[in-house]
C-alpha cells in the first residue's frame, strides 16, 4: 500500500524525524489560509507548492513549484490543484491532482539520498545512503554502486548506533550535523520497522543553510500482508490514486492488472497467468490483462472475472486457462457455463481446463450448448484465442 508525501511526513514527524513542513489542502478556497498559516508558523515568505499524487517524478512533470511570494504561491496552487499531472510513473493521461501541500521553502546547502528496504538476497532490511541525492540515484546505482553505502540490519538487534554512525561518517557529516544524522537514521529505522513498511525513502535528505538536516520528501510503501496489524496505516489509503477496476477486482478477491492488448485472460495462479500472457504474445496476440482467480475458481469468481475483463472495451476474445489441482475442473466448467449464459457474452471465449476432472469438464462444456471454443494444450489455447481476437477485431 502506498501513501502520499504529506502522510509520510506526518509519520516521520511522529517519529522525531525533521521534515519540510506545511499544510495540505484539497480545495483552492483553502489555499490563502494555508499560505498564511505556513508563513506564520514557519516564519517564511517563500513556499513550495507540491502536488500530492502517489506517482514519482512530480517535479519534472510540473507538479512542484517554488513560490517566492504569497501571491506566487496562490497562483501556483491554482495551477497545480486540479491539473492532470503526467510523469514517467503515471499513465499517459496522467493523474488528477486532488490535493496539494503548501510547504515552507528551505535554503538548501546539499542533498543526500536515504532509503530503507528489504534486501531479498540477504534476507535482511538494509539502510542505504548516498551523497548523490536527487533524481538520478538509479544511474548512480547502475554505474557507480560504490557510491551507495549500505548497512544491513539484524532483526534481533535492530539498527545499532554504531551502524548509524558508520552511515553518518560515510556521508561526511561532522559536529552537530553528525549528531543530527545519527538520530535521523535511528528514528527513520524505528518508523520503518514499527509500521511494517516495505520502503521508506527520503530523497532528498537536505542540509539547510541554517545547518539543519531535514527530510525534503518522503515516500513510504507498506507490506500488504502486515496491514491487518496497522489500522492507522490502512486509514491513510487513498482509493482515488488507485485504478478503479483494480479496486473493484480486489473486492471480489481477484488480482487484476489492466494492460493494453485485446485478448482477455482468466487464469488460476500468478505464474501460470503470466505464462499465459507470454504465450498469447508469442502467438501474435496482445494480452489485455493479468487476472489471477486464485484457488477458488467457482461460479461467482468466474462471473466477476468476466465482468472485470469485459469492462475493458478493447477485449475482442477471452481465454480461460485453469489448471486444476485442488480445484476441480468440472466445477469450473459449470461456473463457466452459468456465467456465459447469464452474462450474454458477445465475444468468443476459449476454454482450456486441465488437471483434476478435466475429461468430465470437457464433456460438460460440449453438451451444454453454450458457445465456447474448447482447447487442448496451452499452445492450442493460445493459438485459438489469438485467431478469435483477430477475427473479431
Amino acid at each position: 500500500m502506498k501513501i502520499h508525501e504529506f502522510q509520510a511526513k506526518q509519520l516521520l514527524k511522529k517519529y522525531g524525524v525533521p521534515i519540510q513542513d506545511g499544510f495540505t489542502i484539497d480545495s483552492i478556497d483553502d489555499a490563502q489560509a494555508a499560505i498564511d498559516k505556513v508563513s506564520q508558523e514557519f516564519s517564511t515568505d517563500q513556499f513550495v507548492i507540491k502536488a500530492q499524487i502517489h506517482a514519482g517524478g512530480r517535479g519534472k512533470g510540473g507538479g512542484v513549484k517554488f513560490s517566492s511570494s504569497k501571491e506566487k504561491a496562490l497562483e501556483n496552487s491554482r495551477n497545480i490543484l486540479g491539473m492532470q499531472l503526467i510523469t514517467h510513473q503515471t499513465s499517459p493521461e496522467g493523474q488528477l491532482v486532488r490535493k496539494i501541500m503548501v510547504a515552507e521553502a528551505l535554503d538548501i546547502e546539499k542533498e543526500f539520498y536515504v532509503a530503507i528496504t528489504l534486501d531479498r538476497s540477504v534476507g535482511q532490511n538494509v539502510v542505504m545512503v548516498s551523497t548523490e541525492g536527487g533524481v538520478e540515484i538509479e544511474e548512480v546505482a547502475a554505474h557507480s554502486p560504490e557510491k551507495i553505502i549500505k548497512e544491513w540490519i539484524n532483526p534481533a538487534f535492530g539498527l545499532r548506533p554504531f551502524q548509524a554512525r558508520n552511515l553518518a561518517y560515510a556521508l561526511g557529516f561532522e559536529g552537530d550535523l553528525f549528531k543530527q544524522a545519527v538520530s535521523f537514521f535511528l528514528n527513520l529505522y524505528k518508523c520503518y520497522v514499527d509500521t511494517d513498511a516495505s520502503i521508506a525513502e527520503v530523497n532528498p535528505l537536505v542540509i539547510t543553510k541554517q545547518g539543519k538536516l531535514v527530510a525534503l520528501d518522503g515516500k513510504f510503501n507498506f507490506d500488504d500482508n502486515a496491514l491487518y496489524r496497522h489500522k492507522d496505516i490502512v486509514a491513510m489509503r487513498d482509493l482515488d490514486e488507485e485504478d478503479p477496476t483494480e479496486v473493484e477486482a480486489g473486492k471480489s478477491h481477484l488480482n487484476y492488472i489492466k494492460l493494453d492488448g485485446n485478448v482477455g485472460c482468466m487464469v488460476n495462479g500468478a505464474g501460470l497467468a503470466m505464462g499465459t500472457m507470454d504465450i498469447i504474445q508469442l502467438k501474435g496476440g496482445q494480452p489485455a490483462n493479468f487476472l489471477d482467480v486464485g484457488g477458488g475458481a467457482n461460479v461467482e469468481t468466474v462471473k466477476n472475472g468476466f465482468k472485470i475483463i469485459l469492462s475493458d472495451k478493447n477485449v475482442k476474445a477471452v481465454l480461460i486457462n485453469i489448471f486444476g489441482g485442488i480445484v476441480r475442473c468440472d466445477r469450473v466448467a459449470n461456473g463457466i457455463i452459468q456465467a456465459v449464459s447469464e452474462l450474454h457474452l458477445t465475444v468468443p471465449v476459449v476454454v482450456r481446463l486441465e488437471g483434476t476432472n478435466a475429461i468430465l469438464a470437457k464433456e460438460l462444456l460440449e453438451t451444454s450448448g453454450v458457445s465456447i471454443i474448447a482447447a487442448g494444450s496451452l499452445a492450442d489455447a493460445a493459438e485459438k484465442v489469438v485467431a478469435a481476437a483477430t477475427k473479431g477485431a
Partner: protein, 292 residues
C-alpha cells in the same frame, strides 16, 4: 532416489485441525505419505483424519513421541512465523510452509532464526514438495506426476503443474518436484536445490521455473555455469508483464540488477541453460535434451 522427501519421511502437519490442514493432511496420507501426527496447541491427545492421526500440543512433543522429521504448515499468516520457529526449535529437519500472506518482517526474523538451527525451510507461500509414488508434502495434485528422472524447481504453483503435465505427456517422470514460493524471503533458494539434484544419482535433468522480480534466477544461472553438469531447462514467467509500477528508487537500487524476464533469460542463456520462450515448450525441450 529423490531429494528431501521420500516414503520414509515422518511427516507432521501443523494446523491439522483447521479446514485447510485437515483436508490436505488427508490428501497427503491418501497419496501414501507417512503422516505420523499433527500439531494444534491445546488439542493434544485428540485424533484427527477419521481417527488415523494423533494430535500433539507442540512440535517438541511430536518430535519426541513419533520421531517427526518433516513438518507441513497450514497455520494462518499471523501465527505462521511462530509455527516455523517452533518446529525448527524442536529439531525438525525439513519444514514446509504452505501459508500465504506472512508479513515480510516476520519472515526476516524467521530467516535469521533458522540460520542458528539445522532446519531447512521450503516456502512460505508455496505448493510444497512431491516425490512421485513416495510422498507428497504439500498441496500439489499427486495424480499429475509420475516417477522418473527430471527434477523440478519452481517459484510458481500452477505453472509447476503445467510443466509436470507436459513432462508426463512426453513420457518423462520426475524425481522430486519442489515449489519454493515466490515471496520476497523464502527458506530454500534455487541454488540449494540445484546442488541437491546435481548430487542425486537418479535425477538426469532439471527444470527451473522463475518469475520476474528478485535476482535469484540470475544467481542460480551463474551457479549452474560453474557447478551443475546436468542439463537445466529454464523458463521465466512475465515477459509481457508491465514494468513494475514501483515507487521511489529503493527497489532497483538495492540489487542493482535488471529484474525483467528478458534480462534474466538472457543471462540464463549465457550461462548455458536451455531457456524456452514459450511455457508450452518446457516438456519437449527436456525430452530433446535427454535424447541427446
Amino acid at each position: 532416489m529423490s531429494i528431501l522427501v521420500d516414503k520414509n519421511s515422518k511427516i507432521i502437519v501443523q494446523g491439522i485441525t483447521g479446514s485447510e490442514g485437515s483436508f490436505h493432511a488427508e490428501q497427503c496420507l491418501a497419496y501414501g505419505g507417512n503422516v505420523v501426527g499433527g500439531v494444534t496447541p491445546g488439542k493434544g491427545g485428540q485424533m484427527a483424519i477419521d481417527g488415523k492421526v494423533p494430535v500433539f500440543n507442540s512440535c517438541k512433543e511430536a518430535r519426541e513421541k513419533v520421531g517427526a522429521n518433516v513438518s507441513l504448515i497450514f497455520v494462518p499468516p499471523a501465527f505462521a512465523a511462530d509455527a516455523i520457529m517452533e518446529s525448527a526449535a524442536a529439531g525438525i529437519e525439513l519444514i514446509v510452509c504452505i501459508t500465504e500472506g506472512i508479513p515480510v518482517n516476520d519472515m526476516v526474523e524467521v530467516y535469521a532464526y533458522l540460520k542458528t538451527t539445522k532446519s531447512r525451510l521450503i516456502g512460505p507461500n508455496c505448493p510444497g514438495l512431491l516425490t512421485p509414488d513416495e510422498a507428497k508434502v504439500g498441496i500439489m495434485p499427486g495424480f499429475i506426476a509420475k516417477k522418473g528422472t527430471v527434477g523440478v524447481i519452481s517459484k510458481s504453483g500452477t505453472l509447476t503443474y503445467e510443466a509436470v503435465h507436459q513432462l508426463c505427456q512426453e513420457g518423462l517422470g520426475q524425481s522430486t518436484c519442489v515449489g519454493i514460493g515466490g515471496d520476497p524471503i523464502i527458506g530454500t533458494k534455487m541454488i540449494d536445490l540445484l546442488d541437491l539434484f546435481e548430487a542425486d544419482p537418479e535425477t538426469n535433468a532439471i527444470v527451473m521455473i522463475g518469475e520476474i522480480g528478485g535476482s535469484m534466477e540470475i544467481e542460480a544461472a551463474h551457479h549452474i555455469k560453474k557447478h551443475i553438469k546436468k542439463p537445466v531447462i529454464g523458463f521465466i514467467a512475465g515477459q509481457t508483464a508491465p514494468p513494475g509500477r514501483r515507487m521511489g528508487h529503493a527497489g532497483a537500487i538495492v540489487s542493482g540488477a535488471d529484474e525483467s524476464a528478458k534480462a534474466k533469460m538472457k543471462i540464463m542463456r549465457e550461462c548455458g541453460l536451455h531457456v524456452v520462450d514459450s511455457p508450452a515448450d518446457i516438456g519437449k525441450t527436456v525430452k530433446a535434451q535427454l535424447s541427446k
